[in-house]
Amino acid sequence: MTAPTAPTAPADLLYSEAEEELRTAVRALLAARCDARTVLARAETGRPHDPALWHTLAAEIGTAGLLVPEKLGGQGAGHREAAVVLEELGRAVAPVPYLTSAVLATEILLGCDTAEAAALLSELASGSTVCTPAVPLTLAPGAPLPAPVRDSGGGTLTGTVDAVADAVAAGVLLVPADTGLYAVRAEDATVTPLVGLDLTRPLATVALEAAPGIRLADPAAARAAVAGALLSAAGLLASEQVGLAEWCLTETVAHSKGRYQFNRPVGSFQALKHRMARLWLDVASARAAARAAADALATGAPDAPLTVAVAQAYCSGVAVRAAEECVQLHGGIGMTWEHPAHLYLKRAKADSLALGTAGHHRGLVADFAELPAP
């Protein structure tokens, strides 16, 4: 008997040359324009997003359209490439609406078979429009879709959605409502910024009051499109978590080599060496899990839902642990506002709730691997 969970073909878990080139381009851009000091300064103005940075990243490097086919104005690349971009964005805790616009909204639109969706997709691919789904960031694949928005007739929408990520940067909102999925212009909605735990992925409440929307899909198609998008986004979020964790480990190792206490670098104390060695192991493992998820999504592997659930169940914890160790092993400096460690801790903790907690994803693993609860 073959287990229900047997993988089909061995996933390609490495990075291709083209992916490494893409990484180099994104990393260079972020190093030049998105250092931690700049990120923090912007966050403190209450407007964390940097539209000029987004334009270069999305349009000039062409990362926004990686998931969009060429005939719709995209790059026709795929999830493996988008995962590499997210690794770099995670490493820089970059405040750009990539996960929301270039992944979640893009995947939803790719699941809507309408001309309006196609037109909007090419705007997203070119980076000229930022779009975010009006759903809470915590919405997970496999969870029932909340429908707080009602259509009061003729596509005029009324309702309120909390904890919508990147809504403050969006020109268009994708709104699931009782009668289907709608595109709503941001100026027709009331977007109220919230004070979020994560300073680099801002949240807002989106309130609609008889707001006009363009219908993109009927309720069944909308549910399927959103479910597919949540799966992709959860799988790719694992790569953001890997990049974030790797930054935390690298910084911690560098700091502990240079910081002297008791006439020795603190990094020569075995208690700390072992903690960093364990973290290194965790990050190496998280990378394999995240690569497997990206590859499964890219190839449409039948076991992709399981592979994504495994990656999320694992990588969330690693990112949080890496960020927590980073704060602790930096000592007092790790508790300061100037040192960027807190930006990473806040993102890591928020990421561990985004798109389903590790516990939620373990529940999905239980279903896919046929290991039912008592």
């Binding site: 390609d12 960093m276 693993v365 691997a369």
Partner: protein
């Protein structure tokens, strides 16, 4: 043997393997005869040189050969039974042996005609192997070395024909410098093997007493006093050989636990469910990490992940087998058999959960403890500073023991 360079592409190896199978159909060939023919065709370990069981091919291509042989139902040399020879003695002999030593030892080793053991650890030297005290003194007239000392935890010594041995040849030098590496005949007078019963009740390992044992100088491996470098080759290979196998999803120790969970709903509890899922996920991630490592090697970009695989498997095996005992409830309180046995091989499957739980405790001790491996990762992979130490430049005889 054909003249000229042997082609070593996957296709060439596949063709060569099929030729072997045609000339020696496994169904009608005696096991040992088949293994000999395989060795002589260079398909034993394809990365070894021609004439020594290989073809000088990339190591990763062994998988191509193995897959063909397995599909044809060919016998294998039972790598589990001869693991120490295959994984440690052979690569060290290949790297440091004279031509005569390679010709003499590698073929019977691979065929399983001669089992090897590793005479490294001593009562006073485990993690700190270079502190070893077993003495080897050259008898100038006979040209033999005379060895006295005690080794411990020696797996398979009771089955072994040969042992790889490190001994001190100059106590006046600092501990790493006065060591020499030997190939020890386990049947030589003065070698006494005593079973050492272990936590599982059986005696997989032994104490080995060496009293006036004569080792001819032709059985020295590497130069006199250079044994530490030779031993490091052995130790590196010991750690590499772990995690080299491809396992399927839900393979390894997680398999019996998952099966019990599915087949016996009455055992399920919520607390165990969460732990099972966590470990299932970690086992899957470890499988993927091993797969990624293999892909890196195959692509010629070896990553440092290998250093971590043994650590990961040791921890997972222990946690999973611990969970399994608990899951079984009253049955988990029972143990198959405490009779003292002398096993030929370590076999995790086909035994009960209690055995797995107890035997897995050795995974974080044998082949370098997890603490030592974490030091290696921290220092060699992350480049963290070493602990200050004062034993490196002191003569071995002046160290505190």
């Amino acid at each position: 043997m054909t003249t000229g360079a042997t082609p070593t592409t996957p296709e060439a190896l596949r063709a060569r393997t099929r030729d072997l199978l045609t000339a020696h159909p496994p169904a009608r060939t005696d096991r040992t005869a088949f293994l000999r023919a395989r060795f002589d065709a260079g398909l034993a370990w394809v990365h070894y040189p021609p004439g020594l069981g290989g073809l000088g091919a990339p190591r990763t291509l062994q998988a191509v050969v193995d897959a063909e042989l397995e599909a044809a139902g060919a016998p294998d040399n039972d790598p589990r039974r001869i693991g120490i020879g295959l994984g440690m003695a052979a690569p060290t002999i290949l790297a440091y042996g004279t031509e005569e030593q390679k010709q003499r030892f590698l073929r019977p080793l691979w065929l399983g005609e001669e089992v090897w053991c590793q005479l490294f650890s001593e009562p006073g030297a485990g993690s700190d192997l270079a502190a070893l005290a077993t003495r080897a003194v050259l008898d100038q007239d006979a040209g033999d070395w005379i060895v006295d000392g005690q080794k411990v935890w020696t797996s398979s010594a009771h089955n072994a024909r040969w042992g790889i041995l490190v001994a001190r040849t100059d106590p006046a030098l600092p501990k790493h410098q006065g060591i020499t590496y030997f190939l020890c005949d386990m049947h030589a007078p003065g070698v006494e093997v005593r079973p050492l019963r272990q936590i599982t009740g059986e005696a997989e390992f032994n104490e080995v007493f060496l009293t006036g044992v004569r080792i001819p100088d032709t059985h020295r491996l590497g130069a006199v006093g250079e044994g530490w470098a030779v031993a490091r080759t052995t130790l590196m290979n010991e750690r590499v050989s772990i995690g080299g196998m491809r396992i399927p999803r839900e393979g390894g120790m997680i398999a019996p636990v998952a099966a019990a969970w599915r087949e016996r709903p009455e055992l399920r509890t919520h607390a165990l469910h969460q732990r099972l899922l966590e470990l299932w996920v970690e086992a899957e991630v470890a499988r993927l990490t091993g797969e990624r490592l293999r892909q890196q090697l195959a692509a010629g970009q070896p990553g440092p992940e290998g250093s971590g695989m043994k650590l990961t498997f040791a921890r997972l095996n222990q946690e999973i087998s611990g969970l399994e005992v608990e899951l079984l409830g009253a049955e988990g309180l029972l143990y198959e058999d405490w009779t003292m046995r002398r096993p030929e091989l370590v076999d995790f499957t086909g035994r009960d959960a209690g055995y797995r739980y107890l035997r897995a405790k050795g995974n974080s001790i044998e082949g370098g403890t997890s603490e030592i491996l974490l030091n290696i990762v921290a220092e060699r992979v992350l480049g963290l500073p070493p602990e200050p130490r004062d034993d490196k430049d002191t003569a071995w005889k002046d160290l505190s023991r």
